[in-house]
Structure formats: C-alpha cells, structure tokens
C-alpha cells in the first residue's frame, strides 16, 4: 500500500517546478489568514500576565516564563494533564478497536444486515454533538433517566456523574459512541480494497480468520489505521464539548477537568488568558510528543514511496 503513495511523476521530474507552489498557495493563504494572528497572539500572551484589565485596554505585563513554570509546578495542572493523557489513550484505543471490529464485521455479513449496521452508525455519526449530548445527559439523568430505570430499583436516583471514575466511564461511552462510526467507515473503505479473491485464496491455503486478519487485512489497512489512530489521539486529547456539558449537568468540576475544559475555564472563566495561552502551547507540544512516532512513520512512508 505504501507504494501507492509513490508519486511516479515526481521521480521522473526532479527539476524545479512552480506548479506545486501555486497549488499549495491558496491553502497556505487561508491557513495564515485564519491562524497566524491567533497563534502568534497566543504565543506572545503565554509570556504575559493578561487578564480582564488587559482585555479592556490596559497594557499587559511581561512575566517571562512564569506561566510555564506554573504548569510544571502546579500539582493540580499535572493531575489534569495525566488524566487527559489517560482518557485520550483509553478512548482512542477503544474507538479504534471497536471501529476496526465493526468494519471487519461489516465486510463479512449479508447485504441487508450490512445496510442496517451502516445506517445505524451513520445516524449516530450524523448527530450534532450538542444534540447527542442533550440526549445522553437525559438518558443518564439521575432522577428521570432511562438507564437508571432499566437497571432497576438498586439504581434509583443513582448519580453517574458524582464519582469521577463513573463520570469518565460515562464520558467514554459517549465519546466512543460518537467516534466509532468515523473509524468504522474509514477502515471499511480500506477493507473494500482488499480483493475478495486474495482472501479466498488465503482461505484455500488454510489461513484461519485470525491469520487472515493479522497477515493480510491488517497490513493492507495499516495506512488508514495509522491516520485514524493519530486523529483519535489528537481529538480525544482535546475533548471539550462532551466534558463541559457533562460537568454542567452536575459533576465535581476540579476532579473531572480535562485539558480542554481546564484551558477554557482558566481563560474564559477566570480571565487568566496568559495562563490559558501557556497551557494551549503546552498541549500543542504534548500532542506533538504523543504523536511523534506516528508522524515519523507516516512521513517515512510518505517519502519512501
């Protein structure tokens, strides 16, 4: 599969081309126009004490690396960071595993069932986050939620959001529910490229299901998997709306904060924009570090090809 990425033309024509630059120019202009100022502002502000007063016109005060020092010395911030990493890894892993399983399943069932599964996943995928969260919150509502009712009297008035562990369990269910369809469809699209003849041949050769999966299918969908996993890691590390809406529905804020909500509340809530900016820059670096192995192998494949 990696060989597909080979740009055959490029290998033949190594001379200077103006064309590629013209082609990436529009994208670069849009990205620069939309992001250069905000990102620059964020980096500068991360070295400042910038609060509501500054927002209303007073000149900000330079504090050097004080905001960054605080990140590394504040145990509460570290707790948030560690929780976020754990949440991100667990969710990304679960999402990808379940997504791949569903894609494989999709590929090996009768057409009618496949259609039902696809439409089901599609409906879930199509749910706007705010709408989906509204429904989920109601399902898990401690007083009138269906889930407590189904679980019976022992769970009457059980508040799922009170204990941080069960809070994260609920968050995981919701996040995985929302993200699995994307993974399942992407992987399924990859799977359809595995020709049936090849699999049949392998089966004739006596390869069992697991062997066929690990030795034929997996290598083939590896590129898709890598990108999907990378994206899940990026997205799950910054998960925001779901956590914020769960918190607002009744949870202890400080023990359930993840990076997204923490940054938002530090900035928008506490008007400590300098600190929020420093945290954002830190999260960017953290994401790069976490995804470095993937990025490197992605690049390698990209260049070798």
């Amino acid at each position: 599969m990696s060989s597909i990425a080979a740009p055959p033309l490029a290998q033949k024509k190594r001379k200077f081309h103006i064309a590629p630059y013209m082609l990436i120019l529009p994208a670069i202009i849009v990205l620069l126009a939309a992001l250069a100022y905000p990102v620059g502002w964020q980096i500068i502000t991360s070295f400042q004490e910038y609060g509501l007063k500054q927002q209303f016109g007073q000149p900000p005060e330079w504090v050097g690396g004080a905001n960054y020092v605080k990140i590394f010395t504040d145990p509460q911030i570290w707790a948030v960071i560690l929780r976020s990493i754990a949440f991100c890894l667990v969710n990304a892993a679960l999402t990808v595993i379940i997504g791949v399983a569903l894609a494989v399943l999709m590929n090996s069932i009768v057409k009618g069932a496949r259609l039902v599964l696809q439409v089901g996943l599609l409906l879930a995928w199509a749910m706007p986050v705010v709408a989906a969260m509204t429904v989920w919150l109601w399902l898990f509502n401690w007083y009138s939620g269906v889930i407590n009712w189904v679980l019976g009297p022992a769970f009457a008035n059980h508040n799922w959001l009170e204990d941080p562990i069960s809070f994260y369990a609920v968050a995981t269910i919701i996040v995985v529910w929302m993200s699995v369809p994307f993974v399942a469809f992407s992987v399924y699209a990859g799977l359809t490229q595995v020709s049936g003849e090849v699999l049949e041949a392998a089966q004739l050769d006596g390869a069992n299901g697991w062997q066929r999966f690990t030795q034929i299918i997996l290598p083939l969908i590896r590129p898709v998997l890598m990108i999907v996993l990378l994206l899940q890691i990026i997205w799950d590390l910054r998960v925001f709306t779901q956590i914020q809406m769960l918190q607002d529905a009744g949870a202890d804020y400080n023990s359930t904060d993840l990076l997204g909500t923490f940054i938002y509340r530090t900035g928008a809530g506490s008007a400590n924009y300098g600190m929020a900016a420093a945290m954002s820059v830190f999260v960017l670096v953290l994401t790069i570090v976490l995804s470095a192995p993937y990025v490197r192998s992605l690049l390698k494949e990209d260049n070798n090809g």
Binding site: G51, L52, K53, Q55, F56, G57, W142, Y143, S144, P153, A156, N157, N159, L161, E162, D248, G250, A251, D252, Y253, N254, R265, A268, G269, S270, A271, N272
Partner: protein, 467 residues
C-alpha cells in the same frame, strides 16, 4: 440601608398603590422627565440591549421597544443571551466598540468584575433621576466603584420555600417559625417519610447549591468575605460562617437526598407529583385510589417564578394557538410557600437573586442608552416588572407585585436579602466553581473547619484579582 429601603416600601405601599396605579399619567410625568435636550441627542440612535436569560417577558420587551421608538425615533434591538455564556461574551464584546451591545443586563454578582475594569459608563449623574436611594441598595452597591455608579439594579427575585402541605400534615409538623425549627422540621419529615417514598427529602438542596446554601451562613451572622484595609479577605472559617455551615451539613446529611453534585436547577421537579397511579372503580368510574409514584421532596427553595412550574398537571388552553397544552396548575391545598425564617423572628437573609443593568463604556450611542435607562426606571416599566412577578428595582413599586402569597413571600424574603461580596474577583470565584466544590464536600460529611480554611486560602487572592 437595604432594610430601610424595604421598610419604607412596606410603610408606603398602601399609598403607593394609588399613586402608582391609580393615576398612571401623573406618575409617568414625574419619573420619565421629558428632558428635551437629551432626547434630541438620542434622536435616531439605534441601540442594542442584551438581556440575560428569558426572565423578562415578551410584553415587557415590546414595551421597551415601542417606548424607545416613540421617544427617540430610533430602534431598540433586544438580544437574549444565556446566563451560562454571558461572561464569555461580555469579555469579548464589551471592549469592542464596533460590536458592543449598548445596554447590558448582567448578573448582580458578575457586575463588580466588569465595573472594576471599566466595562461600563459612569452614570452617577443620573442616579437621582433614576430613583436614587429608592433603588435596591445592595444591588446599587455591587454596581459602584468608589463613589461612582456604573450599574444599577434591574430586578430582584429572592428565593423562598415551597412546601407540600399534605406531607407536612401527614408528618405532623407545621410551618417553622425560626431557623432552628426549620432545621429540625425538615429532618423530621425525612425521617417520618409519611408517604414511604424511597430517597425522600424533607428539604431538597443540591450538594453544589451554594446560592441557596449561603442563606444559612447569612442567617447565623456569617459572611463570605469582608474588606480589611482595602483588601478582600474570605471569611469561610469565621465562627459564624462555620456555625451556618454546620447546620447546613446536618440538613445535607439528614434531610436531603439530593446528589452531592446537584445544583439549583429546576428543583420543582422534586416537589411535583410526576406520576400518579390511578385505580378506578370499574362500574362507577370513580377514582378509588391515587398513589404518587414519583415525588422527591417535601420542601424546596426556589425563586418566585418557580410556582409556574409547580402544581397538578392539567391541560390549559394556549392563548396564542388556542390549542390545549400541558401545564402545571398551582393548587393551594397541596402547595404552600413561606420565607426561610431567621432566628430573630424576621425572615432569614437569603441570597438576593437578580441582575444589574448598565451602559457599555465603549458604546457609541451613549445618549440613546441613557434614554433607555430612563425608560427602564420609569414608573410604568417598574410597575410592569412588579406585575410580572419580578422584584422592581425601585422599592416604591414593591406593591405592584400584588398581594398574593407569592408576592408576600417574595417581598418578605427580599426584605432581608444579601448579596455576594462586591469584590473585583467575585465572578472568577464563581467561574472556578470553588463554592460548588466546598459545599459539595461539606454535603458529603467533610470536615468543615479544615475545608473552610483550605478554601479561604484559595478564595482570598482571587477576590483581589490575583488569582
């Protein structure tokens, strides 16, 4: 100050009823001065008013728009912002001259944060004209920086108790007359649980519900913070505050079955019968047995307008569409109200809900905005506020709230109500959810002395804008 204002209102309420409602034309002339010079300066200015939440009814909004048009010829655009996002939006829009709303309703506890950084225009010169000392003084106070007025009260809505008469009766208790009585009554109801409902609360108060919970602090003479040498100091660990919190912990542990993370949202859910099993006699169609299957509490504490959501479920004709729709109908036989009593025989000082209103400092339409304030503080509009169940800013108009049990409970409970500290950083204390955390921990049986010390240390720097 507050007390005198309220007292004045009580004493004069009878007379005012006539002066305010009996001769509206006369009253209109006195409070909305036809200052021709200011009106001409405001002429044609199109302004935007941000209202927070859906508390201001449509009729009042239309009144503002029509009157503004009449007075200035300009249009008034009213935009409703939700409470949850108000601070974020004000943070970005108020400093932006091109997009700032001209007049802004802001939560009374959020006001100091924005007045202290210069978000609002100085309206000290209008203070007397708009009502002066008749305005609810605790709200005026949070709108001040030094001697200057930046925001003024818009309306108040203090909280009082809603209770189930049937359950109080079955439990053999009566409406408590003092705070101590209240504390023991609700525990007793929870213990007796006359209807034998699982997880039944004598008084439902959420673990994170500090807005209602601080009433116990205030009622015991405690406070959240005080000013010392120009600096704010959090006073959670003062003996009086701790006394109040200890009583509250007892309620949390023995009277309330609310989750430790519940807030003050929609408490009326728990006092309504949400479902009734009805058994009918097969031949006579007569109801033989009626059992409520879901009821959470005998008492809740809520703002006055909650009574629109409390009662028996019936079909009511929608005025607009003429269709029948579900609505709750208050039933005086089953439900009742009373203000939280204090130990001195007066109502306990409860948290005064409500909001302030001010003019954005960056607004380009200062004259038009000032004209709108004149309309809002006019006799007519203050009367409209009262008639719609919102505590009017001007205490002369308390009588317009009416004389039913809700008006009485509202005026009584407001007579002694208190506000959160007028510190620069108060909105940040709220946004960091520190009080939610503290109260939640107390509700689950935490060590009050240690917790309050811990939170004092956290809150003090934030109060002074050093968080």
């Amino acid at each position: 100050m507050k007390r005198t204002a309220a007292l004045l209102a009580m004493v004069t309420s009878g007379a005012l009823l006539f002066s305010a409602c009996g001769s509206p034309s006369n009253a209109g002339n006195s409070a909305a001065p036809s200052n021709s010079s200011s009106e001409s300066a405001a002429a044609g200015q199109n302004i935007t008013l941000w209202l927070a939440g859906s508390d201001t009814p449509t009729a009042l909004r239309e009144y503002l728009q029509e009157t503004y048009k009449k007075k200035t010829g300009g249009t008034l655009k009213i935009e409703e912002q939700t409470w949850g996002d108000l601070v974020t939006k004000l943070t970005t829009a108020l400093p932006d001259p091109n997009n700032t709303p001209d007049v802004v309703e802001v939560g009374n506890t959020q006001s100091p944060t924005f007045t202290n950084v210069g978000g609002f225009s100085d309206i000290t010169d209008m203070y007397q004209e708009l009502g002066g000392d008749k305005l609810l003084q605790s709200f005026v106070e949070v709108g001040k920086v030094g001697d200057k007025n930046y925001t003024l009260p818009y309306y108040y809505g203090s909280r009082y108790m809603f209770y189930r008469k049937d359950i109080y009766k079955e439990a053999g208790v009566s409406v408590p007359k003092t705070l101590d009585e209240f504390n023991s009554t609700v525990v007793e109801i929870a213990k007796k649980n006359p209807k034998k409902i699982d997880n039944f609360s004598g008084f439902f108060i959420g673990g994170q519900d500090w807005r209602n919970g601080i009433s116990w602090i205030f009622a015991n003479g405690g406070d959240l913070a005080k000013q010392e040498n120009g600096k704010w100091v959090s006073t959670m660990s003062d003996p009086n505050t701790i006394k109040g919190l200890t009583q509250l912990q007892n309620i949390y542990q023995n009277a309330s079955k609310a989750p430790a993370t519940a807030k003050d949202q929609s408490p009326w859910l728990y006092i309504n019968d949400t479902d009734t099993d009805v058994e009918k006699d097969a031949t006579t169609e007569e109801v033989t047995k009626e059992t409520p299957t879901k009821l959470g509490a005998a008492t809740i504490m809520a703002p006055g307008w909650a009574h629109w959501s409390i009662g028996k479920l019936t079909k009511v004709k929608d005025e607009k569409t003429g269709k029948m729709k579900d609505a709750r109908e208050w039933d005086g036989k089953v439900f009742g109200v009373y203000p939280l009593p204090g130990n001195d025989g007066n109502p306990a000082p409860v948290f005064a809900g409500g909001s302030n209103i001010g003019i954005s400092a960056k607004s380009k339409n200062q004259e038009g905005s000032r004209e709108l304030l004149r309309i809002i503080f006019s006799d007519e509009y203050q009367t409209l506020l009262g008639e719609n169940g919102m505590g009017p800013a001007n205490s002369d108009f308390n009588s317009t709230l009416g004389s039913d049990e809700f008006a009485k409970a509202l005026i009584d409970s407001a007579s002694n109500s208190k506000l959160t500290p007028a510190a620069v950083g108060w909105a940040q204390v709220e946004d960091k959810k520190l009080l939610e955390e503290l109260f939640s921990k107390i509700s689950t049986g935490g060590d009050i002395a240690a917790l309050t010390k811990e939170y004092d240390a956290k809150v003090t720097p934030i109060l002074n804008g050093e968080g």
